[in-house]
């Protein structure tokens, strides 16, 4: 995007307006990605906050190539992985908590429609690697080869995970698989 190139140029010169624009443009997309990867609102918000604070600190030396969306999405994924590792160290694994869920309270209306709620649940039930591929592809618009780099695997494996992930979602959403 031309605008992203422009924003990167401005960020390297310390523009506050550019940072505000990047934030406004991508904060919801990054929260959606973090929510999909973690399925925990509070942790997802922490991740997004960490990513944007780190981004703000290093903005003047920004060397991101390509879209800022891809760059930020990769940062979110790395933070999510850190968060998962920390949580695994902290908590005793409980069979019921393999995919942590959080019921949204009325003041935190996370889902606005039944379909969204079902999607949320279905995405949470995907195996972690498939979930990463599906979300990085569909919510962060990363290319498959870039996802392969992030996951340190081949493009074919990533394509397979994407296909299996969508098939699994289709099954879950069509009620073919018991949750």
């Amino acid at each position: 995007m031309l605008e992203d190139e422009w924003l990167k140029w401005k960020l390297r010169r310390g523009s506050r307006e550019a940072l505000a624009r990047v934030y406004e443009k991508y904060v919801d997309a990054m929260l959606t990605l973090a929510m999909g990867l973690l399925n925990q609102r509070a942790t997802a918000e922490d991740v997004v906050q960490d990513v944007f604070l780190s981004f703000a600190r290093s903005a003047k030396d920004l060397r991101a190539r390509g879209s800022l969306r891809s760059y930020l999405a990769t940062c979110v994924l790395n933070r999510v992985r850190d968060s998962r590792r920390q949580r695994q160290r902290r908590t005793v694994r409980d069979a019921g908590l393999c995919v942590p869920t959080e019921s949204p309270g009325p003041e935190r209306a996370v889902v606005l429609a039944e379909e969204t709620a079902r999607l949320n649940q279905a995405v949470a039930e995907l195996p972690e690697e498939q979930r990463e591929v599906v979300l990085l592809r569909l919510k962060a618009n990363l290319k498959f080869r870039d996802i392969a780099k992030v996951q340190q695997t081949s493009v074919n494996t990533v394509l397979g995970r994407y296909r299996y992930g969508l098939d699994r979602l289709r099954s879950l959403l069509n009620g073919e698989v018991e949750p």
Partner: protein
Amino acid sequence: MKSRKAIADAIRKKWNFTVDSPLRDQLLAHALREQEQSQETEPAVNRPAIRRMIMKNSMVKLGIAAVILAVLGIGIVEFLGTGGTSGVVWAQVAKNVEASRGVIFRVRGTGSRDPNGDWPNGYTIHWRSAALSRADWYRNGQIHRTIYTNLDTKTLIGVLHDHKMYNKEALSDERVQQARAGKGWTDPQELLNLALSLEHHALAPKTINGVLCEGIEATGPDGSTGRIWVAVETGYPVLTEVEGIDKGGIRHTSTGDQFRWNVDLLAEGIEPEIPAGYEPL
């Protein structure tokens, strides 16, 4: 039975979360503070060292030289080429825009959240001069946010109409300098300079709101395009358009129009009044 494509489309388009408003503003405030602090801890005098480091790499040097030549080449074409064959001399347009005392214009956009997500009803109105800047965001027919800066008095006023809150703060000298250095991607002057520095070509003349206009279209390295239409008679931009398609196939656009150039903007005329009942942030 949902297809794979239907599932993918549902996730891509319908499955979204948003950061709640109070948290949204807090996070942005923290990020801006981090940015400011990072600049304070690493002063600008260190920057030439980075440049020297980059210039040590011969491939980078070649790339920079090529860019400089390309920009110079475009400049020469602008001065020698367009003046003789068209009604608009783009170098003169750049001068007109730079010399304009003040400008008022509207920006609308699609694809991304801001300036608005409810095209064509949402929009942003900008007032710009060398020292003053104000932007009013409208969403769903209601004023949403107002940001005003006065670089002479070093003041910033933000009004969060949706929360009935406001913020007044003093601008540091550094922030004033930054603001003077650049007014953002929506600024028509900066957009014009960017377009002229990129690969671009002339568009066929057309009439916009009854005014004969000539335009150029610039293409970014990623295929995004920017178009600027200038009134032949006045030599000022009347319409700016930026568009591109992101990796997910979503088309993003930004349109600037309703330009009023050479307007005398006075602080007392555009400084926002805080409505009764609004509370300080």
